[in-house]
């Protein structure tokens, strides 16, 4: 651990990784809270995996993979969202299809791009140690956008998440707000991909918020606590992985998962204790 702290002082790539973790935790705290309370984790997982299609295509065309990820994520969110509004009963089938077809497209495109096959692993599982200053800038812009829009329309987003029918009756554009929420979740997925990769994104999006939800009583506080937990998990995972040279993304998720299990056990004990 001391080794990590010393290296953090001298190694720019580690400083970048540290900053990336902090930037990611803001997004995962704010949007992860919505994903957890609105129970759309499966949907967010579908978006995350479909992103590989966009990244593969971008690589094939020789443009920025993260740009491709952004386009694919927003497109997947809108397709899933619009279909689920029109025909809710087909939602999970559609998510499953987009999930797998997106990945298949990505694999095909990457296989046809000479010399890029090694990148596949870093998309799937993240490579926080390879974060560039350009990535950090994009992450900061995405965070800023998330915080401003959620801050401005917090009341409306809270209302549609809590009781869609009532919001509609009050005249709120409930469908539009739902699609907007999905697009914000899609942007967050892209924000997190650099850190843990698209397969593990769903854990970083849900676990900090789920732990926070066990101990807080309002959406705002849940977002705050989830962001702090996200920062603890990314930084802690990075530090734990550094010495033994473990994959950072996977270590971050294992740390988050362990804390979630411990928190769940404590929470259920406390409830049982109160009852007896």
């Amino acid at each position: 651990m001391m080794e990590f702290v010393r290296a953090l002082g001298s190694q720019p790539f580690l400083q970048y990784a540290f900053a990336a973790g902090l930037l990611a935790s803001l997004g995962c705290g704010v949007m992860g809270t919505f994903v957890v309370v609105r129970r759309i984790a499966f949907l967010a997982g579908g978006i995350a995996h479909a992103v590989l299609g966009g990244m593969g295509l971008a690589l094939y065309l020789g443009v920025s993979p993260l740009g491709g990820a952004l386009v694919a994520a927003v497109a997947a969110a809108l397709i899933i969202g619009i279909v689920s509004l029109r025909a809710r009963e087909h939602e999970d089938t559609l998510i499953g299809a987009i999930w797998a077809v997106g990945m298949a497209l990505g694999v095909v495109f990457i296989s046809q791009t000479p010399g890029y096959n090694s990148e596949l692993m870093s998309y799937l599982f993240g490579n926080i140690l390879m974060v560039t200053s350009g990535d950090l800038l994009l992450m900061a812009v995405l965070d800023l956008f998330l915080l401003i829009t959620v801050g401005l329309f917090f009341r409306q987003l809270q209302a549609v998440t809590f009781d869609e029918e009532f919001s509609r009756l009050r005249g709120l554009p409930a469908d539009l707000l739902y699609l907007f929420l999905l697009v914000l979740a899609a942007l967050t997925v892209v924000l997190l991909i650099r850190v843990v990769g698209l397969i593990l994104v769903i854990a970083l999006l849900t676990l900090p918020a789920a732990v926070a939800g066990q101990w807080t009583g309002s959406l705002g506080r849940m977002m705050g606590v989830a962001s702090i937990l996200g920062a603890v998990f990314t930084t802690g995972g990075l530090a734990l992985s550094y010495g033994p040279d473990l994959p950072a993304g996977a270590t971050i998720i294992l740390l988050a998962g362990s804390v979630f299990i411990v928190s769940t056990i404590f929470k259920s004990r406390r409830i049982r204790g109160r009852r007896s």
Partner: protein, 248 residues
Amino acid sequence: MKPVEISKLHFSYGGLPVLEDVNLEVGEGEFLGLVGPNGGGKSTLLKLVLGLLAPDSGKLRVFGENPKKSRRRIGYVPQFSEFRRDFPISVHDVVLMGRLSGRMRPGPYSAADRRAAVTAMKGSRVLDLKDRRLAELSGGQLQRVLIARALATNPDMLLLDEPTASIDSSIEESIFELLRDLNKRMTIMLVSHDVGFISRYVTRVACLNRGLVCHSTSELSAKGLEDIYGSPVQLIDHHSHLPTEAPE
């Protein structure tokens, strides 16, 4: 302008007729109880009045307008048995939702919104629960909170869907007392499964089983109910037979 005017209304769902030739008028200041068997179309009729569904044919006017236009004048209290109780939100924040409007104004609630929410919470006697989490409320308390949220919209009519399903009977009675008070200020239309009990509080009962037959409370008879339910029904006033339970 009558709060609700319905004539020759038909509605079907997936080819199955749910409502057939329904005629109903609700006058200003009325307290209408809508009863009938499960699947008889009670909740569907409420959703039509709210403009959440559109009729296949017939006339439906709410405060003289298309239901979609007039829905902002209605305070809706949904079936709370379907409610997500584990949502991290306080009573105060739930009631404040009644102050939202389609204008999508950014930023926090205004001071006027907060005052209106406090008045609404006083009106349904939940002000002392203001800072409680939703998950900590009993069924009866949650029901009062949902009524407060509807009151915060400053409605001309309250619409309630099974407000006392799965609440125990002494609390049910206190909810109806509250509604009777509110009825002095606004029209109320409520759906209930409990025929005998609501007749003590409402000004008129309408029985719905695809078609609609209306009674005033005094006419509510076993014979009329038999026509609607299709089998003999006993009118039982639960509350004069049961020992009163301790209030909440």
